[in-house]
Symmetry: C2
Subunit: 208 residues, 2 copies
């Protein structure tokens, strides 16, 4: 299969969320044009994105909402349940662990780790905070798919090393540092300071 751009994957994810809304409204079909309007893009873009994976629509009619949802879920790998661990039982970790939106999409938080003695052993929702030193051992049994890393920036490179050693192949990183990992490990960064700086730039350069 040809290489798919990250921007394409982001849009697919967006289309899926729109389709779920449309489905709740009870509509049966949708055109590339409507999908484009919802996503702030063009109908050609929508059709091109989808055409990378097959042809799912009916000419003259559009796309069947449930069918396209299903295809997108399949493309995005949402058919299975993913096992997620959260590392760093702090403020962000707490918000994420308690967020129901993830499980709804098949991302199940099955463990939380921290290095702080004061936090280890505490109950967190239906989980107990475990010592980070046990991550590697636990991983052989639990087989985590994704690690969500929410530790202080200075410790995060070391944490990433442990995650890699534990054999986890995907990391969602909230610390404002660039992680260096082997090429078979995928990292996505959520860097809020960077987003705010993007807004700052936009505010500072309006009308130029």
């Amino acid at each position: 299969m040809k290489r798919i751009a990250e921007s394409t994957v982001r849009r697919l994810s967006l289309y899926l969320s729109f389709l779920e809304g449309i489905d709740r409204q009870g509509l049966k079909t949708i055109s590339s044009d409507e999908l484009a309007r919802l996503g702030g893009t063009t109908s050609a873009q929508v059709r091109k994105d989808l055409s990378l994976f097959g042809s799912f629509g009916k000419r003259g009619l559009g796309y069947s909402v449930p069918e396209l949802s299903g295809k997108l879920r399949e493309i995005l790998g949402l058919g299975k349940q993913w096992r997620v661990c959260i590392i760093g039982a702090g403020k962000i970790g707490a918000a994420l662990a308690r967020y129901r939106g993830f499980a709804e999409r098949g991302f199940n938080v099955t463990a939380v780790y921290d290095s702080d003695e004061a936090k280890i052993g505490k109950r967190w929702e239906n989980l107990t905070v475990r010592p980070i030193s046990e991550l590697e051992k636990d991983a052989t049994k639990q087989d985590f798919d994704i690690a969500v890393v929410a530790t202080p920036a200075e410790n995060t490179p070391a944490v990433a090393k442990q995650v890699v050693r534990a054999g986890i192949k995907a990391i969602l990183n909230f610390a404002p540092v660039q992680l260096s990992v082997p090429s078979d490990v995928t990292v996505r960064n959520v860097n809020m300071a960077m987003e705010l700086e993007g807004l700052s730039f936009a505010l500072s350069n309006r009308g130029e």
Copy 2:
């Protein structure tokens, strides 16, 4: 000035954070090549990004770390202090309000809003949660620059309308919905479900 791509702004932001690290290490100059290695890009990219705004380096030497930091801060509009309000005093809102990393970069959270009677009036750090209905009135006095929106998806379009009516020109949106706002308002989305789906896609399509 010519249009600057969002990807460029993200990289500038990244360079700045590297420069701050380098500065703490006490190094005085850095080459485009080293900066590129830190950011996982190429030296030509670094130089091209910077050349969009001027020429800040010395041939044969590289860039002065404090000078380039200063220039980047200026470019990104980090010279001033920004007034930020958080809307939605829930799990994510709480994590953000308590995060010190923002103020360090000039983003000062000066108010928190919610619609829940049970939360209104409560103290949050050095702030008191205010009723969202007062946002518009408060904005005329406080003159917020940026609204961080962390409300449930279903209420968020309405919240965005209120933010726009309050005259705020930049929104950082955490709800998994696409906001439609006038063209003079800039929106950045942080959509964690989308990031996880990106990882899911990567895990599902390795080696193809």
